[in-house]
């Protein structure tokens, strides 16, 4: 348990409210536009890193048209909460993404975020964009291994010092001096690996809930003492993109924002970009009308399920979850969990495995005490307490009645009524 309470309290109080400011006024955007334009000019002068493919070519290779690309650019501009006039800049930035070096390290993870980044049912623009980013190092994706891989990483870190974005996937186990996870031929622990990689990064991006909060490795009883990146890396800009897996659109969004403005997007108190995590699932859910109406799926596959009723009673945690998948969905807008008829399990929230991911309403759930592993429900506990109080009262009442009667009898005997 290395949750730094003081730190998080401070963060909560210093964070601006979760308010999503979608209109900051013309003056702001005009200035931003000019600075973005300048940045893009500067980037254009740089050569693509490591002979990365040219974006326009990759698009054509995949049989997509420029029109599709522009459509994507305008949707992405909206997602980033920029005015429509920024669309050409966003398109330019996408083309120039091969100028920004990215190093990707994997720690305690399942590579699900790498999978999300690579796979979809067909090549979509988000994926192509991620294809052309200058991924200098990615253990799982590269051919090199062992000493060779280490050498490659060291070179990349040296060469792009202070410029690269470090993407981290997976939790950081701190238990047993970090020896629950080691990497490479030298047996470097994950913690040391992370520290070393973060050292020269321009910013650190934690992708997925494990890298953000510790996620599943940190689930009760957290045997490896896993934590998220923000607990380990200090003194660097950190951007969290939680969810299980993180939505590739949000990864692209963060990189694009960086390419476009040279800065990190506006963050909430958990360091998540507001453009993605400023929304509550429940407030943008297509089943919300059924929630308000009181129409619920009572059991999987029932009449309600066939009618797309709200999934609250089968455990949807949309009301307590902040993410934009109810808006942008997954796989380039094809669908999302609630769309396919299963509830939200709060995958983008801290502690989601222990506190969100049971497919029942909270009132019927066995919530594991995160530190103990004792199963008990809130209501059972409450009812138990109530029963105890009731029994106590009953005993007291009975005793009082008996005592009162005796007293009365005594008084009668004494004849002093």
């Amino acid at each position: 348990m290395s949750v730094d309470k003081e730190e998080s309290v401070k963060k909560l109080f210093t964070a601006e409210s979760a308010k999503v400011d979608t209109n900051k006024g013309d003056a702001y955007y005009n200035e931003l536009y000019i600075s973005c334009q300048k940045r893009i000019e500067d980037l254009r002068k740089l050569a693509p890193l490591n002979n990365r493919p040219d974006f326009t070519e990759s698009i054509e290779d995949q049989g997509l048209e420029r029109r599709d690309f522009l459509k994507w650019a305008s949707a992405t501009t909206a997602m980033l909460m920029l005015p429509a006039s920024f669309t050409p800049l966003v398109a330019d930035a996408a083309v120039l993404m091969n100028r920004v070096p990215v190093i990707w390290v994997e720690l305690s993870d399942c590579a699900g975020n790498s999978e999300a980044l690579l796979r979809s049912d067909g090549p979509k623009i988000d994926e192509i964009v991620l294809d052309i980013i200058s991924l200098e190092f990615h253990e799982t994706l590269q051919a090199a291994s062992g000493h060779q891989a280490e050498k490659q990483m060291n070179e990349a870190m040296e060469h792009f010092k202070g410029k690269y974005l470090l993407f981290v996937e997976g939790a950081v186990p701190l238990g047993m001096n970090g020896n629950y996870g080691t990497i490479g031929a030298t047996g470097e622990t994950f913690v040391d690996h992370l520290h070393r990689a973060a050292e020269g990064a321009a910013a650190v991006v934690a992708v997925g809930s494990c890298a953000t909060y510790g996620g599943i490795p940190a689930a009760a009883p957290n045997p490896t003492d896993s934590v998220g990146v923000m607990d380990v890396v200090k003194g660097k800009p950190i951007i969290n993109i939680p969810a299980c897996p993180a939505n590739p659109s949000n990864m692209v969004g963060v990189i694009l924002h960086f390419v476009l403005t040279g800065t990190i997007p506006e963050l909430d108190s958990l360091l998540r970009p507001k453009f993605a995590f400023g929304y509550r699932i429940h407030d943008n859910c297509e089943r919300r009308a059924h929630f308000d109406a009181g129409e619920y799926v009572e059991e999987w596959g029932d009449e309600g399920a066939k009618n797309n009723f709200c999934l609250y009673k089968v455990g949807c945690k949309g009301p307590m979850t902040f993410n934009n998948c109810s808006i942008i969905r997954y796989n380039e807008g094809v669908n999302w969990p609630i769309g396919v008829g299963r509830g939200c399990i709060g995958c983008s929230e801290p502690d989601f495995w222990d506190k969100y991911a049971y497919e029942r309403p909270m009132a019927n759930a066995n919530i594991k005490a995160p530190t103990g592993g004792v199963e008990k429900t809130v209501d059972e506990f409450g009812l138990g307490l109530l029963t105890a109080a009731g029994v106590g009262i009953a005993i007291h009442a009975a005793a009082s009645a008996v005592a009162g009667k005796k007293e009365a009898d005594e008084k009668e005997d004494g004849g002093e009524y």
Binding site: K5, D21, A218, Y296, G304, K355, V378, H396
Partner: protein, 247 residues
Amino acid sequence: MSMKEGYKRVRRMTPAMRIIHWVNVFSMIVAVATGLYIAAPYYQTFMADDAVDKYVMAWNRWGHFMVAIIFDVTSIIIAYLFFFSRFEKPWRKVIPTWKNMKEFFEVFLNLVTLNRRKKFDSTHSDSFNSVYFLIFHLLLGWMLLTGLQMYVHGLASGESSIGAWWPWMLHAVTDWTQVASSWMVGSTATGANIMDVRISHHLTMWLVIVWVVFHIYYQVWRTIFWKEGDISIVIGGDKFVKTDKEA
């Protein structure tokens, strides 16, 4: 009014206090009934109706939030009266002075000795009751803060029908309950979340219910055993005390 001989009437609650009491009773019943529905909708609506015609969850939430606002306002009044009432000074009874602790203990002994021992002045609100009510108001205060924290996230745009100051203020006043709830519920992750607030809100409901059950029992018990008509304090505002005790 006819009164038993040897008794005198003592004023204990002003009309305002009694109104607040019964408003609280009503609000509490509504809050529990609707809160439990929000937690796990326990009755069904008819499939045949169109979604637009029924609004069952929405009405439950509406009711819950309405009584919540009533609780908010009465809490402010009560907090004010707690310190500044000219009628009674409850705060004087909860500070742990020697005298108060002794009285607290005596009242407690009175309860557990089943009224065999009664060595305190029951004319005025005693220390035990004052502390017990303070606990209630702390629990209610926690319900308010956690409730408003959950509520404000429904106003994600930062706007509300009464202006942007309202969600802004709610964030400023209640955001800390996330951290506090995570600490209470226990967490292995980095960062606090709103689920913990919800769990805490739900659990505190049970504490409040337990509080209410004992409260009702104890007031009735006092009425029966002390024979001073304590229960009528909350109705007519008065109780009766033996005059010989005063003498």
